[in-house]
Amino acid sequence: MDSDAVICIDDLWVRYGDRVVLENINLTVYSREIFSIVGPNGGGKTTLLNTILAFKEPIQGNIQVMGENPKKIRKSGIIGYLPQKSEYDQYFPVNVFDVVAMSRFARKRSWGKLNNKDRECIHDALKMVEMADFENRHFGSLSGGQQQRVLIARALAIQPKILILDEPSTGLDAVAQDTFYHLLHKIRDREDITIIMVSHDIGTVSSVVDQIACLNKSIHFHGNPDEGIPSEALEKVFGRDIQFLIHDEHCKTCEKRNE
């Protein structure tokens, strides 16, 4: 495994029942990259994340996260994670500070006590996502975008080496999405962290990430989106309708590519 590689995937195959959902996946994610996996709904993006997170066993192939087996890495708690569908109860009786503090408690047996370093990490994470003024607010009283920032703060508070975000921009309006992508760059620039993000929104994502992998059962393109994604690869992943998307005048990536 390359010393600078954070995740190495080699000839990975995953199946649900009789249906193969991922085939021959080969992928390397390097340290401090913002890496996006894009593809249509049902294309296997979340399955790939679940396999990286050791929630799903592959039928063939090999995955190494920081040079280790994903199961071992998950127990070590060095991954910050924001799932696609948050399963939490909106009215769960916790405030913003409590939510972020959860990740600091994840691996300690401290009889409910936080030390100074824990508090510092929680405050730093809340400051990073610009939610420090909300720490005493009931979590359920926040807007969707604010809740998402708090959940990112929770992921950051464990001081992860890898931040994994599954469809993080879903449900956010255009302004909140812009703020969110700006935040991702801020996190990457200030922390020693690799960010892996899953999205179906190739138009927006390709303008803000360093590397992109187009996935629909198998990887059809893997590289720097600024260098252009071959139209054949896009068609294989998204179908012919992708031409309408990439020629959308609001799509920065397309403008950039058309220049």
């Binding site: 929630f55 070590s76 994670y81 009786p93």
Partner: protein
């Protein structure tokens, strides 16, 4: 009132109510917040099969029902996790299966002098010192367990998958929580009965949530509420000459709806 405490059965029931208030006040929060309230009813009802098996084989029903409830709780947990079925389905299957087994076991025992209704609806006259020690044992195991793992269980209750990725041993904690749920239910069956015990799983946290948006206050409010309905119900049942378990549950339900009305009217 002091003359009541001269009666051994009342003293036992009083102490047991105090211990169970603490147990249910704490446990209820996690069960309700994890949307597993039907699990309490399901596990309690599986105890019927265990009680009946105990009657059939001449074993103390506490031990046979404990085994039944523990096995059911763990099997339901594993079925949900690995069998790709919902909690409701898993509980529904075990609930009716165990009740049916109970009926068959009772039918096989041609003649018995056992107070089965005491197990179904509770009987404070049947609360012995052994039951007190069992309740105390449950408290002495459950409180340190929660004290050590409280925050991890809170995280798991809020978002299980993220907790697991963050390093929380969710499988182990989930199993232990199910074991404690089964033990606490079996321990409390003597006082409130198989049919009514699920109310003690659901009501404390439901009432606590009327009080606050802070989990600390929800839990302490739930403990206070359970203490009030169990001890209050015990005294009320004595003066009304009514069954203690049913009195506690009726009182608890009335207090809950009163709380709901007060909250809504604000």
């Amino acid at each position: 009132m002091s003359e009541l405490f001269h009666m051994v059965f009342f003293r036992n029931a009083f102490v047991m109510s105090l211990l169970l208030s603490l147990l249910f006040g704490l446990l209820s929060f996690f069960i309700v917040m994890r949307r597993m309230t039907f699990l309490g009813a399901g596990i309690a009802h599986t105890a019927f099969g265990g009680v009946a098996l105990g009657v059939l084989l001449g074993i103390h029903p506490f031990y046979s029902s404990l085994v039944f409830c523990l096995v059911s709780a763990l099997l339901i947990g594993k079925l949900v996790k690995y069998g790709n079925i919902s909690y409701d389905t898993g509980i529904g299957i075990f609930f009716s299966f165990s009740m049916a087994l109970g009926v068959l076991f009772i039918a096989l025992k041609k003649a018995y002098t056992f107070d089965l209704s005491g197990y179904l609806f509770g009987n404070i006259l049947g609360v012995t010192q052994t039951d007190l020690f069992l309740s105390l044992g449950a408290v002495l195991l459950f409180i340190p367990f929660l004290a050590i793992f409280f925050q991890q269980i809170l995280f798991m209750t809020f978002e299980e998958k993220v907790a697991s990725v963050s390093g929380v041993r969710t499988d182990m904690l989930d199993t232990l929580l199910l074991i404690f749920l089964a033990v606490i239910i079996v321990v409390s069956i003597k006082i409130v009965g198989i049919i009514l015990v699920s109310a003690l799983v659901v009501l404390p946290a439901s009432f606590g949530r009327l009080l606050s948006n802070d989990y600390r206050k929800v839990i302490t409010g739930g403990i206070g509420y359970t203490l009030f309905i169990m001890v209050g119900g015990l005294f009320l049942s004595y003066y009304l000459d009514s069954p203690a378990g049913a009195t506690m549950v009726v009182l608890g339900t009335c207090v809950y709806f009163l709380g709901l009305i007060v909250k809504r009217s604000r």
